[in-house]
């Protein structure tokens, strides 16, 4: 497996593990962008990440941050910091990670699916969507240039069982926020408390162009559910998405809109793909063969 030469993606922070994955004093090997790395746990919340050279020797150490239940590192010189997600610092929140899940597809397909509401009724039937309420109402997307993030606002969808805390169906309000090509999150209104939002993240560890790990940390307002129940629910949702993600063809993401035809409901996907195209990144992108 070759290390990518795409400097655009190398300069991003990416997840490379979840906090607690190994006990103190232990380490594990993993891969980002085709580069083998070793993650060592030095202390309770202290990790060291180092490149593994082709001959197996330990190479340079990489920057590391432990945030949002995950361990982040980078192979390059990040131009953007890790995003600020204030909800994770609120005292009464339930902060829950779900480990990582392997997915054989392009990292951007995982992000894009997370932004998509039109699949709720078909992929998350009777949970995040009802079979007879499939309409996606118009919503707004914007590119926030100050932070270089893509946002989707005023999203609404009818959900029979929006979360483990739900007692019944509700019209759920969503706000989506793409923070980097490999990280996305959503805010959705909490059952019974219109003033607050659950914050659910998806961080993608791109091991190779079509080989990823997905991390789903959450900061929830939920006093009743057990952690086992919350994890079970969230993993159940993601495993429903995973069959879709692994069976899209091509597995690399095409940016040319004539290869995959969007409609209005795909406004966030259109904005995301445009943003990726403007970044001029190559890693994980499908290039149509010249005619």
């Amino acid at each position: 497996m070759a290390v990518t030469t795409d400097q655009v993606v190398l300069n991003e922070w990416v997840a490379c593990g979840w906090h607690g994955q190994v006990p103190m004093g232990q380490s594990y090997d993993t891969v980002i962008f085709g580069q083998e790395i070793c993650v060592s746990r030095k202390g309770a919340e202290e990790y060291e990440v180092a490149v593994i050279e082709e001959n197996g020797a330990t190479g340079r150490t990489l920057p590391v941050q432990v945030r949002y239940t995950c361990i982040f590192t980078t192979l390059g010189n990040p131009t953007r910091p890790l995003p600020v997600i204030a909800e994770f610092d609120e005292d009464d929140r339930r902060i829950i990670g779900c480990g990582s899940v392997g997915v054989r597809t392009s990292p951007y397909r995982i992000i894009e699916n997370f932004l998509d509401m039109a699949h709720f009724s078909f992929v998350h039937t009777n949970v995040l969507g009802a079979p007879d309420q499939t309409e996606v109402l118009a919503y707004k997307t914007e590119h926030r240039k100050d932070v270089d993030e893509i946002w989707a606002l005023d999203c609404k969808f009818y959900q029979p069982a929006a979360s483990t805390a739900s007692a019944g169906g509700q019209m759920t309000d969503y706000v989506y926020r793409v923070m980097s090509p490999f990280s996305v999150m959503l805010y959705k209104n909490v059952f019974g408390d219109p003033a607050r939002n659950d914050a659910i993240c998806l961080f993608v560890q791109p091991m190779a162009e079509t080989e990823c790990l997905a991390y789903m940390p959450m900061a929830l307002v939920d006093e009743i559910s057990t952690p086992e129940g919350i994890i079970d629910f969230q993993q159940g949702i993601f495993l429903q998405d995973r069959i879709i993600l692994e069976n899209q063809r091509p597995t690399l993401l095409p940016l040319d809109p004539t290869i995959e035809l969007p409609t209005r409901a795909d406004a966030s996907s259109i904005a995301f793909r445009r943003w990726l195209k403007a970044m001029n990144l190559q890693f994980g992108i499908y290039e149509k063969q010249a005619a």
Binding site: H119, V123, T134, N247, R249, P250, E260
Partner: protein
Amino acid sequence: MGEFRDRWTAVGLEHQVEPGSSNPAIVDGHPLAIWRGENGQPNIWHDRCPHRGMRLSFGFVRGDTLRCIYHGWGYESGGQCVSIPAHPELTPPKTICAKVYPATTRYGILWTNLADEPSSPLPDLGPEEGWHPLRSLYVNCPAETTADRLRGADCGVPDAKAGNGGDGIATIETGSGLTLLIAIQAVGADKAGLHVVARGEDARASGQRLELARKMQRLRCALEAQ
């Protein structure tokens, strides 16, 4: 494109593609969705929804339309998209169309042709009548060598004689007067599908077909051992 040869290839036995189902198949590495509406007409398409590339073999059939499992987009048998559930009021533009290949049944076998402009004739082994389905099975060996290997393979049928029925087709004459037609599907570099039907006395009796189906399992082992 023009990446595929103008030839008919078997992709399954007709009776195993149930009405109201969508099924995956691979020909020369190219993924296909084989689906059948309530009206019984078989359809063979590129296994890809034009919207977000989801494989249509995972789809579900409602009436005579195939619906993609991802967003429920509905397609009629010509390939035209006819419904987009995210926008119930919208008439889908004509440009949204699945890639459709010909689908024909002969001898109880489903055939397709992936060429841009198919003009070659269907395989001809005489009259349509009299053939009874045995089974489909998949062997881990290249399609090109399967017909040759069949000649040397021990299928456990007394006095069996293997013959050539044309491009991608082998035959076996049994000592008891039965003819087996084996249509060979090139799946990938190292895998072939065998779609087997039989003709002759008692070919219709389930006991006889059961016996022959078991011999085909034996044949598969023999082919893979070569």
